[in-house]
Every structure is written in structure tokens, then in C-alpha cells.
Amino acid sequence: MTELFNTALTPWEWTQLISFYGIAALMIVAALMVVTLRNIFHSALGLAAVALGAAAIYLMLDAEFLAFVQILVYVGAVVTLIAFMVMLTQRASHGKLVRQSNDQKTISFIVVLSLFALLIWKIPTTVWNTTVSTGNLADAKTLGTAFLKEYIMPFEVISIVLLVALIGAIVLARREPK
């Protein structure tokens, strides 16, 4: 931290720094909310905040397309669907609270702790490629061409999987009781 305050930063760098730490703090708080709050709706909102924070960080890294798609998919679709299900299944009263934990606390604690240790150990020792790649890799045109040329097979397979899921959902929802 001392190094941070000794170097003179330009206003733009300050703006970036303030934004980054602000967003990072918000994301951590929101992520904790997702796993600790006992009201499912509140957890879903926390998830939305995490997704928005991630999108903001993508934006700061110049990955515009990824950021906007992140918002569109995670906030616009995933969290909306979760919230919709909560509202359809819970009544308007806030009486129903869920437990976020089950009886496997010890085992899951060990697993999570080992994963955390692994990350702490690995992240500083890994060599990260921090140079900005030449050309606008993440722009819409390049992505579109890649989807319809090089990756046409996976793209189509994913579409079919989604279609099957869609039809399956309709069949399940419309099943008539005998």
C-alpha cells in the first residue's frame, strides 16, 4: 500500500484504481451475500451484483463484447429466471427462509480449504501473460466469423442441446395428470 501512495498517479489512473477497488469490494460483499443470506431472493440479487461487477472488470480490461454479453446472459437471463422461479414458488410473504448448509459441513470445509490453498499457492507462482494481444480479438465480427467457420460444429451442437432442453421443459410443464 505504501508503494501505491508514493508514486504519483494521473487522474485517469486514480479513477481506474478507485473503480477497481470499489468494484472488487462490492463483488466480494455480494458473493458473500449469495452464500450466506437465508432468503433465496436476496441471494439471487447478490448473484446479479457479482455478475455486474465481473462485467465492469471486463470493461476495464477492454473486453467490451464479453462484458455486455455477461450482463445480457447472467443478469438478463440467469438471475431473472432464478428470481422468476422464486416468485412463482414462494408466496409473497417473506416467512420462508432456507438453510444454506447441510450436514456435510466438515467434508466440504476440507475440500474448499484445499482448493483455496491450491489457488493461494498457484496464483503467485504462475506466469501470467499480461501483454495485450495485438488486434481486436474480442470484437463482434471476429467472434461471429469464428462461430460460423472454425467452430461451426460445437456451435450447432450447443444449439441442439438448448433446443432439446427447451422442448423437454415444455413437455414437462405441459404433462397432463392422469
Partner: protein
């Protein structure tokens, strides 16, 4: 002077001020950063509230004349200051929070609903080079940021802990999700032909011939205007806040300034929908056939579109929920797909 130069001037000015006050350069930089954030935020919020107040006055005047009334005419010339009087009244009102509401969610909802509306102005194309930030993915940005307002409506509906609010919130979200699809698909042919998602390039592609002047353009425009009306919950798609059924829908429990924020968001979204329609189909700041370009045309088009939306509101009766869903999924969606296919075939044959 472009906006960026203006910001640069502001940065220099504030850092100079901080330095003369005897702060070290790094603290001067910090203060400048904070000052810029506050200045930009304040300017944008002020601009948006003025626009919203003007539109509320316009709506009341338009509705008045459509119903053979005069509309507001007491406060100021032509009742122009009526909205200011209303705003003052709303500011002074007691802020009532019902006892059983879900406090944090209920409290945050009106704040969050304004955010996407404000952010969308980032891509407002006033004139060539007069776009605050001409993102390469401007259209995608507005579509993405618009989906955040769904969350805010959910929060208002759920947090109010009220049956009417809950039903209103769910109806709104179902409606917005359904009509977002044809709205985006209606714009796709334009993006295909312009080869870009940026507002600047889409408008430049229409410098001679607007996108409206073709069969696919008319179809896309009509689909977009209908879906846009549905996305901002205006009559004939005002099912979410149908007064006769749901009191006021998701904002039933809000009063004072919180209610005003919902209002500001609604009218700002109206500006955004009109802006997209004008920029994407009506040539933005260009007159047709190379007759000229000016920010005046852009603003006139936006206001014409807003007037059209107001005209809809005071002419059409409200749709039923099932009619609305059927219309969205079974009528608009197939037509917009057919439109995309038609433009695609046409492009393939031409190339």
C-alpha cells in the same frame, strides 16, 4: 469541442486548483478523479430530470388535447412549470415505508431502476462526432444494460410484500423478456446491412437512404416500435401497472421521491426507445437523400417518436395478458425471423 476535450479541460482545471491549494500531486490527482466522477454524474442526472419533467408536461398537454381538454395551464406560461411544482411537491412529501416491506430490496429498487436509463445516454448520437461514447458495440450495450431494469422491477415487486406489486412485477418481467426478443431481432437486419453495432456507423450508412425506405425497413420499424412500447410498459401494453386491476403494479407502495424515480426512469426509457428508433431506422441526424444533417433533426425525430408513443397511449385500449403474449411470440417473432431471412437472402444474392 468534443466531450473528451471538455473532460480534459476539467481535469486540468481541478488539478490546478488542488495544486494551488497546496496539495501534493498525487492527492491532486485523487481529488480530480473524484471531482470528475461527481461532475459527470451531476450533469447527467440534472439533464435527465429536466428531460423527464419536460416529457411529463408534454404527456399531460398531449393527453389533454386528445381528450378535448386544455391540460395544465396555471403554473407558468402554458403550464410549463407544472412539472417543477410537482417535483417540489414530491420532494417535500413524507417518505412512507410500509412496515412489512423487505427493507433493503424495497429501498434499492427505485435507485437501481434509474441506472440503466442513465447509462443508455452514453451512446446518444446527437450529431456526427457528438456521441458521448461511440462504442463499437453501442446497440449491444443498450440492450444489455436495459436488462438490468428487469432486476430493479423484480426488486420493487418482491420487496413491497404486496400482492398487487408482486403480480405487477411478474407481469412486467414476463412482458419485457417476451418483447425484448422481437425488439432485438427487428434491429438485426440493420446491423447486418451496416456491418456494425455502433450508432455512428449505422447512421453513416443511412446518410442518403434511411433504413425506413424499404419493405424490410418498414416491417422492422413497426416491429421495433411495437416491442419498444411493450418494453417501456406503456399503453396498450400497460398490463403491469393496469390501474383498474393492480392499483399501480410494482410501484404501488412507493411515495414521494422514490415514486418520482420510477417516473423519471419510465420517461427516460421512452427517450431511449425513441432514440434507438430514430438512429436505427430514421437516419439519425440525417435528412433523407442527402438534404443535410444537424443535431436538430435528431432531436426532432426523437420528439416525433415520443409523440407517437404518447398518441398510442391515448388512443388504444389495453390488451389482455394472453393476447399480449400470443401477439409477441406467435406474430411478431415469426415476422421478424422472416424479415431477417429475407434480408440475408437479398444480401447473399447481391454480393
Amino acid at each position: 469541442m468534443s466531450l473528451l476535450e471538455l473532460t480534459d479541460k476539467l481535469i486540468q482545471w481541478v488539478s490546478e486548483m488542488a495544486r494551488t491549494q497546496g496539495y501534493s500531486p498525487e492527492w491532486a490527482g485523487f481529488f480530480t478523479a473524484i471531482a470528475i466522477m461527481l461532475a459527470v454524474g451531476g450533469f447527467v442526472l440534472g439533464f435527465i430530470s429536466v428531460v423527464a419533467m419536460l416529457l411529463i408536461w408534454m404527456e399531460r398537454k398531449v393527453s389533454g388535447h386528445m381528450q378535448s381538454r386544455i391540460g395544465p395551464n396555471r403554473v407558468g406560461p402554458f403550464g410549463l412549470f407544472q412539472s417543477i411544482a410537482d417535483a417540489v411537491k414530491l420532494l417535500l412529501k413524507e417518505d412512507i415505508a410500509p412496515k412489512m416491506v423487505d427493507k433493503p430490496v424495497w429501498w434499492l429498487a427505485p435507485i437501481i431502476i434509474v441506472v440503466p436509463a442513465v447509462l443508455s445516454f452514453l451512446c446518444f448520437p446527437f450529431h456526427k462526432g457528438w456521441i458521448p461514447l461511440d462504442l463499437n458495440l453501442g446497440l449491444l450495450f443498450i440492450m444489455a444494460i436495459g436488462s438490468v431494469s428487469v432486476i430493479a422491477i423484480f426488486m420493487a415487486g418482491y420487496g413491497s410484500n404486496n400482492k398487487y406489486s408482486l403480480i405487477g412485477g411478474m407481469r412486467t418481467v414476463a412482458q419485457i423478456i417476451s418483447y425484448e426478443v422481437p425488439a432485438i431481432l427487428a434491429i438485426v437486419p440493420v446491423v447486418m446491412l451496416a456491418g456494425s453495432l455502433s450508432f455512428g456507423q449505422i447512421i453513416e450508412a443511412q446518410s442518403f437512404r434511411w433504413n425506413l425506405f424499404s419493405l424490410w425497413g418498414i416491417v422492422s420499424f413497426i416491429i421495433y416500435v411495437i416491442s419498444g412500447t411493450a418494453e417501456i410498459n406503456r399503453t396498450p401494453f400497460d398490463i403491469p401497472e393496469a390501474e383498474s386491476e393492480l392499483v399501480a403494479g410494482y410501484h404501488t407502495e412507493y411515495s414521494g421521491m422514490k415514486f418520482a424515480l420510477f417516473f423519471v426512469a419510465e420517461y427516460t426509457n421512452m427517450v431511449i426507445v425513441s432514440m434507438i428508433a430514430s438512429a436505427v431506422f430514421l437516419g439519425g441526424y440525417y435528412l433523407p437523400f442527402g438534404l443535410g444533417a444537424s443535431p436538430v433533426w435528431m432531436l426532432l425525430k426523437v420528439f416525433a417518436m415520443i409523440f407517437l408513443l404518447m398518441w398510442f397511449r391515448w388512443t388504444f385500449p389495453r390488451l389482455r395478458v394472453d393476447q399480449m403474449m400470443i401477439f409477441g411470440w406467435k406474430v411478431l417473432l415469426p415476422i421478424s425471423f422472416a424479415n431477417i431471412a429475407w434480408v440475408g437472402i437479398w444480401m447473399a444474392l447481391k454480393l
